[in-house]
Amino acid sequence: MERNMESLVQVKGLSVGFRVFEGLLRVLDGISLRIGQGERVGLVGETGCGKTTTVKSILKVLPQPPAVIFGGEVLFRGKDVLRMGRRAVHQLRRSSVAAIFQDPLQALNPVFTVGTQLSDIVRDWAAGTGKRLSKKEIFRRCVEALAQTGMPDPERIMTCYPIQLSGGMRQRVCIAEALVRPVELLLADEPTTNLDVTIQDQILRKLDELVEEKGMSILLITHSLGVVMDLTERVYIMYAGTIVEEGKTEELFTNPKHPYTQGLLKSIPKLTGEGISQGIPGRIPNYLHPPSGCRFHPRCEHVMPICTQQKPPLTESEGVACHLYRGDVR
């Protein structure tokens, strides 16, 4: 929370594109973010704004090609993940980072049992720490991890194939896979988007509990503002591959600065029924020819001449990337 909190992950000026048939998609445009030790950080933005690309860059699983990294650093405890060799990356993944993906139906291998997939994670993690666990011990840890996620009858689930489980159960397995070994950072990429609304809440509560209990850092990626308000301390707002605003979750939501964040908050439907919520006119830009200057300017109601020419930096003091808040240019 505090600015001087020790950083676990620091992304600095990361720019990533994708080479496609039509040309180059410039998706991430110099984004920077920081996750402190034991901190819960949210990353919010609409579909297609580059959230998943950010996560994949941190995990170094972006296939290159088609992805191209133009610049920037992803520092994990000060070491640049993007410049690590294969071995170092593997070591980092098995000992320090875990991830939960969007679609639990796609995130489990269909031809192996839950038990096989879980125990391989434990076995390889143990091998990394120089330990050799007995089969019994591995099994015990797996069952424990499943039970922690609130999975009923975990011993039986170990022998099941993913196809035999419901969506909610599969997502619990995914969480168990992420948390079956101790890690420092959990990247949760829209962990509940593809689940029933009734299950979403259960899963998030459980995830929240587990993160709390294990004291790990979490980067929660979502387009649901409610989830972010509930679960995170600090939040980054992302628009079209740029970070537009950053701040403590509560402050940011009570006093949004960036026109995009303001529009985002206005678009939440209100249960009190005071009229229909407003959306933001326009669509997310085309990454083949992104707008010049501030990428939000074509949709912004406060657009100024400078917005089309110069990209506003994310200021450390205000935590917002917008020319409206820069006294010097106004």
């Binding site: 994949k56 995990l59 699983v61 296939p63 294969r86 593997h90 993944r93 098995r94 000992s95 980072v97 875990a98 991830a99 993906f101 969007q102 679609d103 139906l105 796609q106 995130a107 489990l108 291998n109 269909p110 031809v111 192996f112 049992t113 997939q117 391989d120 994670i121 390889d124 993690w125 091998a127 990394g128 194939y161 196809i163 035999q164 489980l165 419901s166 969506g167 909610g168 159960m169 599969r170 995914c174 896979e177 992420a178 070994r181």
Partner: protein, 339 residues
């Protein structure tokens, strides 16, 4: 799994039963009197009548079928007009040569095709991938007997690296017959030198047969591997810190080869028909040549036997393929439940 195998086995038996009915029907519809054909022009009408009664030809269709089925199940398929011997005896003589060749060709295509497919898919867009794709197009497009002629010409005639036609040189005696597979029989007879020679003879025809399959199945493995590689679960395995080699050889390979196994089953029937022509080119004393001769000389009993054997083989291979797939892919054998 056990229940699945039993179910599949019963289905196969049903298919074979249907096949036998069809074959029998066709064989009886074909014009001509089998009794007259068997006895020849000089036999009297009485003699022919007696034989007709003996062969149950005077009975209704289904009674005839019943007697025929019983004798087939006892291994009696009648006499071949062409070789003048019981058809079963002919099969025992000619079938092993073809089976040996086909199994060897399958082995080659399995090992080489899968290796190439996996390498090509894993190192997508590398020079190896490009080379494999070009060669595999050619391999799929060229008929095996053309490949056979070229291989025979280049390696045997021009370069002299490979022996010519046949299973063994004429000067070399076959080992005592046990299985009919020369490679095995010669080893059983304690003659590894014969094994080596037989292997050399088998290499060219087997390669001619295998190339199309290497190309076809390799291509399918390649595209399936690329497809699976982009799945979220492969990403998840990597991110969860599973050893990269384990991710490739365990978690990536197994879901990738399922489509290939399916195709291999279907391809086996093609392998049989391709063997017909390749055996002609290499003068392979096998089942295919026997079958072609049977067709050309309208040798009815032999034709029935040939069709039965092919049907049996295809049914068996499909059974094997289905069981393999059920083993590899649990979604086949598990009923869907919930989401």
């Amino acid at each position: 799994m056990g229940a699945y195998i039993v179910k599949r086995l019963l289905q196969s038996i049903l298919v074979l039963f249907g096949l036998s009915l069809l074959i029998f029907f066709i064989a009886r519809v074909v014009p001509g009197d089998p009794a007259r054909a068997a006895l020849g022009n000089l036999a009297t009408e009485e003699q022919v009548e007696r034989l007709r009664a003996e062969m149950h030809l005077d009975k209704p269709f289904f009674v005839q079928y019943y007697y025929w089925l019983i004798s087939v199940l006892h291994g009696d398929l009648g006499k071949s007009l062409y070789t003048q011997r019981p058809v079963t005896q002919d099969l025992v003589q000619f079938l092993p040569a073809t089976l040996e060749l086909m199994l060897f060709a399958t082995l080659i295509s399995l090992v080489v095709g899968q290796t190439m497919g996996v390498l090509s898919g894993y190192f997508r867009n590398s020079w190896f991938d490009g080379l494999f794709r070009v060669i595999s197009y050619a391999g799929v497009a060229t008929p095996p007997f053309v490949i056979a002629i070229f291989l025979l010409f280049i390696f045997s005639q021009l370069l002299g690296l490979a022996p010519g036609v046949g299973r063994l040189p004429i000067t070399m005696a076959e080992p005592p017959r046990v299985t009919g597979f020369l490679l095995i029989d010669s080893l059983l007879a304690g003659r590894p030198d014969v094994t080596l020679v037989a292997l050399k003879h088998m290499l060219l025809p087997a390669i001619s047969l295998a190339i199309a399959h290497i190309a076809q199945e390799g291509r399918i493995t390649r595209s399936s591997l690329i497809d699976v590689q982009q799945k979220d679960y492969i990403l998840a395995h990597q991110v969860h810190g599973i050893r990269p080699t384990k991710v490739i050889f365990k978690y990536l390979l197994r879901p990738s080869i399922v489509p290939t196994v399916t195709v291999m089953g279907m391809d086996f029937a093609f392998l049989l028909s391709n063997a017909f022509l390749v055996e002609v080119v290499f003068m392979w004393p096998g089942f295919s040549r026997y079958a072609v001769n049977a067709m050309l000389s309208k040798d009815l009993n032999a034709i029935v036997a040939v069709v039965l054997v092919i049907g049996l083989t295809v049914a068996l291979v499909n059974l094997l393929v289905d069981v393999t797939i059920a083993f590899l892919d649990p979604t086949v054998r598990i009923r869907r439940r919930g989401g």
